[in-house]
Amino acid sequence: MVGKRVTLTLDSTLDSVNSAEESATRFAAGAGFDEDEIARISMAVREATINAVLHGNAYDPAKKVGFQLERTRDSMVITITDQGQGLDPNKIPDPLAPENLLKQSGRGIFLIRAFMDEVQIRQLHPGTELKLIKHVPGAAGDNKEASQ
């Protein structure tokens, strides 16, 4: 599994959100995560893809979503890019603040951060790249696999 990589270019549609989620679920299962962690990873990927399709590319058929799953020696790394206006991580409102608690939207990035070990947000000018990282528990087993 180490070194395995899946790269897709997705349309800016709801179907792409479901496809990305399903791909991440299968990949996480193959990487050896337990059921709860697979659910967290899948949801984080769903939220990140929604951000790319809805808030980034705004369903624009001319704009694509880049989607990559990678299994490194100790982690699963998911990279999602859009071609939108860009997301400034410093301007994301805190959904837990009392004045935001009853807002209908604004929880996606918060949930991604809650469910992943590391989240990196990079502005691409234009667009945004989200890199989601989940460490594989007991990754020492990977060394064994890698040495075979």
Binding site: I50, P95, L96, L102, Q104, S105, R107, G108, F110, L111
Partner: protein, 112 residues
Amino acid sequence: MKANTRQVNGVMIVDLSGRITLGEGSVILRDTVRDLVGKGNKKILLNLGEVNYIDSSGIGELVSAFTTVRNQGGELKLLNLTKKVHDLLQITKLYTVFDVKDDETAAIKSYK
């Protein structure tokens, strides 16, 4: 996602099943609650016992349903949260916003 509505002692109970996510699931929930409120129903109980997945859009729809009913002078409560939905509401600090019940009979009696 499916939504079936029934009335028990003046409380409209909406039995939801499946996924409440961006797209169809959220729309069904929104339309169902708006329809109930539009017909003058002010006591609404969302039974989430068969909801196995909800995303941020679904959470937003629950919040929207809650405020819509409240703004009409009514009460929207939640019943039978699955562990995943319970955990999500905890993480997002919404568990204390919603009135959450785990027994239907007690939930019905709790309405004023």
